[in-house]
Structures are given as C-alpha cells and as structure tokens.
Amino acid sequence: MIHALLTRVGGTDWETIRLPLVLGLLALVPPVVFREGATYVSRLIILAAIFATLAMALNIVFGHTDQLFLFVGALTGIGAYTTALSAEAFGVSPWATLLVGAVLTGVIGALVCYVAARLQFTVILIAILTLALQFAVIEFFVGARDITGGSTGLIFSGLGFESLQEGFGIHEHVILYYLVLALLGATFAFYEWLRNSTYGLAFDAIRQDEVAAESIGVDVVRYKVLAGFTSAFIIGLVGPLYAQLEGFVIPGLFEFQVIDVLVLIILIVGGMRTLLGPLVGAGLVIWIDEGLASTGEWRTVIFGALLIVLFLYFRQGVVPFADRILNDRFRTRERIATWRES
C-alpha cells in the first residue's frame, strides 16, 4: 500500500527512494528512542543493526553466488581479534587497525571461495567446509591463550569518540549507533549498486546455471572469489564494532550458535536476494528473541520451534511475502490499466 501510495503521490520511483528513506528514518532512532539510563533498549537496537549488516553480507555471498558461509561468527571474530590485537601490538588506536582486520578477514573469505570454486564445491560442501573452519577458529581463540587471552579474552573499547562523549555529553551508544548505521548504510547502498551492475548480472547468471555462465565468458571463479572477499570484508568490519558494543573480545561472542544461527534465520526470514530483507529480518528476529525473554527457560524451545516453522513455510521471506500481498491486493488493477495503455 505504501508502495502504491508513494508512487502515486510523489511521482518518484519507490525503488530509488526507499533506501535513503529507510536510512533517514533509522537516523532518527537515537533522539526518539534512546534514553539516558535505558542502555538495554539502545544496546538491542545497535545489535539489530549489526546483525542486519551481517545478514546483508551473507545475502551477497550466499544469496547471489550460492556459497553458504557457515563461519560468519568466526569471520566476525577474526575481524575483532585482529583489530584489537594489532592495535595493542603496534600501540595505536583500533581505528588505525580496523582495516587490517577487515582485509585479513576478506582475504580468508576470498581464499575459501577460491579453493571451493576451483574444486567445484556444491553449496553443501562449502557449508560443511566453513562449518569445520568455524569450530576450528573458535577452538583456536579459546586455546591459543598466549595470543588471544583464552576464554577470558580481552577488554575492548577503542572505537569510541571520547572527546565527543565528554565534550557534548553524548552517550557512547549514540555514537556507536551512528557508526554501525554508517556501515549498514554503506553496505546496503553497495548492495543496491551491485545488483544493478554487471557484477549483479554475472552473479545471477552463475546462480542460475554455472556451466551456461562459463560458456558465455563469465569467469565463475573470479566472481565467486569477489563475492567471498566482499562479504568477508564487510563481516570483518562489523566484528570490531560488535566487540565495541559488548566491551570485550571473547570466544563466546563468536560461536556458531550465537552468530551464524541468528544471521541465517534473519536472512531467511527477511528474504534472500532482497534489499530490505536483512534489515526487516534483523528487526523482527531480535524483537522476537527479546519477546521470548519473558518466557524464561522456554525461550530456546520456542525459538527452535519457530525456526522449524519459518524454514518450512516462510522460506521465501517476509519481504517478498509482503511484497506479493501488497501487489496482489492493491496494484493488480493499476497494473492492468497501465498494461492496456501501452
């Protein structure tokens, strides 16, 4: 309905204004919702934004090139640990080493994709490979105590603007929120550009028929590696921000059950290969998860049941589902009219 309304009233195309509109609305969240002393709510909102960005990264690599990364948690951790540890080692601020972590994570993602593409791994094989990597990496975080601090981890708080916080009395969550939002906005805008570029076209071709794509000159390995690097790079940037929110870097933050399961649900629930799916999914899933907190110990049980139902019946995702309903209910007549005119 909003869709049709906007097209009629503004005359502008919904496709072009939806991202700026959504980001603009999201920018208004801190002054409206964040309250001094209510860090619980602001933390959840930042967390949702973080997971939306992670889900978007997975959307690029899994949704568009069929490479199922089940080591998003490990990549997030590698980004966070690399940034924190290299900042400590060089005695600089984590701001300076943010890119080091992201680039390393990106290279790991690219490497995995390169090997997988070369050996012509199916989606299930990449899933198993990355799952094994996920657990190996977490095991390393816990075990290599001399480097990572083991399960007690490291304290991490370098990604703030102390001067802004103290000078203007702005809460650290507000600053962090805008940082995450900037990354989210950049990622989503990049995705929008990607889909309409030749890369997007090549990804579609590869996903639909790899052999056919190869035969018309699409370099399948190259595009898969590019997708892997891009997604892992974004995940590597999210890592330190996630650590900043939690205040420390510990292996438990990056476990499969903590990150990957949630990111997968968010992407599937929101809708794969859609622009707003990861965002809607993240909001919805974090909200549901919080709502279930009142059920106490039954939370995991209900969450598991919900997972099964969602995967069995809502695999196409909420955004495509809503889109279909809106189109069918409200735009059918309109479309017939325009069709007759042409």
Binding site: G143, W298, F303, G304, A305
Partner: protein, 279 residues
C-alpha cells in the same frame, strides 16, 4: 599402549557417531544436525531410569528404545516435509530444519536436566599383556564391536538391509524393484537415532554428557562422516578409528586444544582431497 587403547576406544565411539550422520545423509540427503542432541537425550534418560530400575543394562536398553521412538516421531513429522523438496533444496532444508530441531530439543533438555552426567560401567580394570585397560574401555569396545557386527550383518545379509543399500546406490532402480525409498529412509533414520543413542551412552562412560555437549557431539559426528566420505559406511568406521587415534595422541603429546584443531584440520583436508566423494 594405553594411549593406543584409549584412541581405539574413542575412535569406536566416534565411528558410531559418524555412522549416524552417514547413513541418513547417504540415503536421504539430509544432514542431521540434531544427532548429538539425540545422544545427549539418551544419556539423560538412562541416568533417570537408573534411579528407578537400578539396573544399568536395562536402563540403557530402555533409553535407546525411547530415543529410537523419538527418531520415529521426527521422521514421520518433520522429515516428511523435508523429503517433499528435491536435490539441493532438500539438503539445505534438511540442514535448517534439523538445526531448528537441535535448538528445540536442546532447550527442552536444558529445562529438564541442565547438568551433564557420566555413567559408570562397573566393569573392573584388567591387565592384558602388561597394559592396564580400564573397565569402561572394555565395555565400549565390546558393545560397539557387537553393534558393528550386527549392522554389518543387517546391511549385508538381510533383505531389508540390502534394500536400503539399493536405495543408496540407485533410487530409481530401487523403485523399479518395488522398494519404497521413503520407507527405507524412515528405517534408516530410526536406526541412526538408536545408533546415536548408543554412541552417546558409550561416550558418557568416559566423558560428561548433557545438554551442553549435544552440539559438540554433532560436530564430532559430522567430522567423522566427512573424513569417511559422507556416504560410505566402511569409511565412517575407518575414519572414526583414525581420528580417535589422532585425537588421543595429539592430546597426550601436544595439547588438548591442538587435538581439537587437528580433528577439524583432518576434516578440511578430507574435504579438499575427495570432494567428489562427499558430493
């Protein structure tokens, strides 16, 4: 020598776990990520029953039967939905649905019994050729070898077992021979549930098993299955033994966490060396 026996003991349990993944994936294309929770449930039920019946063998048998029943329920309900889709979509749906199931069962287990347990076998240690063998090791070796022999007999000699292998090799051919793949899949899933239950109980002879260990067991099972070639039954058994030995020796000489990483490394190497077998 003691390490070798420990390794073999651990390897046999790993082999059982891997087998649970292998037969279901080989036959139905479903990667059962909830298998470790089945094992954990079996241990918890066995502990509960032990308090009532005060007979360890009886409790173990009843626990295995209970988990087998759970397997049947899961197959008839959830997996029916999964088998409706085909090819790669079925594989993905299988992963997601069993992941959801693992979360659900895990949550239930935490509510019912949040701690981890180990069963004591009550078999005395003995000395063979100058090496001290723990009672638990003897029990594990005897029980798992008996189970492997039974499975071997089932898959090689009985009509039902052969029918299952037919579906594994050629589904269309099986249908033409009048074998229903769906029925065979149910049979194999139920079988895998009971194997997982036995594996969990044997595992609890030497380690603590409970809700927290469920997913860990799944991952172990997955590794064994991958190294064994995912659809090969003999491969899973061999992989279990090799990995058990690797894990025990690295753990003894290098360190526990290196041993864990070695297991994952073995899985990754196996994946890279023989992808066509796994797919």
């Amino acid at each position: 020598m003691e390490f070798a026996i420990d390794g073999i003991t651990q390897g046999l349990v790993l082999a059982l776990l891997g087998l649970g993944i292998t037969i279901v994936f080989g036959l139905g294309g479903v990667l059962n990520l909830s298998i470790g929770v089945f094992s954990a449930i079996a241990v918890v039920i066995a502990i509960e029953l032990l308090g009532i019946t005060s007979s360890l063998p009886l409790s173990i048998v009843l626990a295995v039967v209970a988990v087998t029943g759970l397997g049947l329920v899961v197959d008839k309900s959830l997996l029916s939905f999964v088998y409706r889709s085909e090819g790669e979509e079925r594989v993905l749906l299988g992963i997601f649905v069993t992941l959801g199931l693992a979360t659900l069962l895990d949550g239930l287990l935490v509510i019912a019994r949040p701690s981890s347990y180990s069963l004591s076998v009550g078999v005395p240690s003995t000395t063979v050729f100058g090496a001290q063998i723990r009672g638990s090791s003897i029990a594990i070796i005897v029980i798992s070898l008996a189970l492997f022999a039974g499975l071997y007999y089932f898959f090689r000699r009985t009509y039902l077992g052969r029918a299952t292998r037919t579906v594994l090799q050629d589904e269309t051919g099986a249908v033409l021979c009048g074998i229903s793949p769906r029925k065979m899949r149910t049979l194999v899933f139920v079988l895998s549930a009971s194997i997982a239950a036995v594996a969990g109980i044997l595992y609890s002879f030497t380690q603590q098993v409970g809700a927290a260990e469920g997913f860990e067991l799944t991952i172990l099972a997955l590794i064994v299955s991958i190294v064994g070639g995912v659809t090969s039954i003999v491969g899973a058994v061999a992989a279990g033994l090799v990995l058990g030995l690797i894990a025990t020796f690295t753990s003894a000489y290098v360190g526990a966490y290196v041993a864990e990483i070695a297991l994952f490394a073995a899985a990754i190497v196996a994946l890279l060396l023989q992808p066509e077998q796994v797919a």
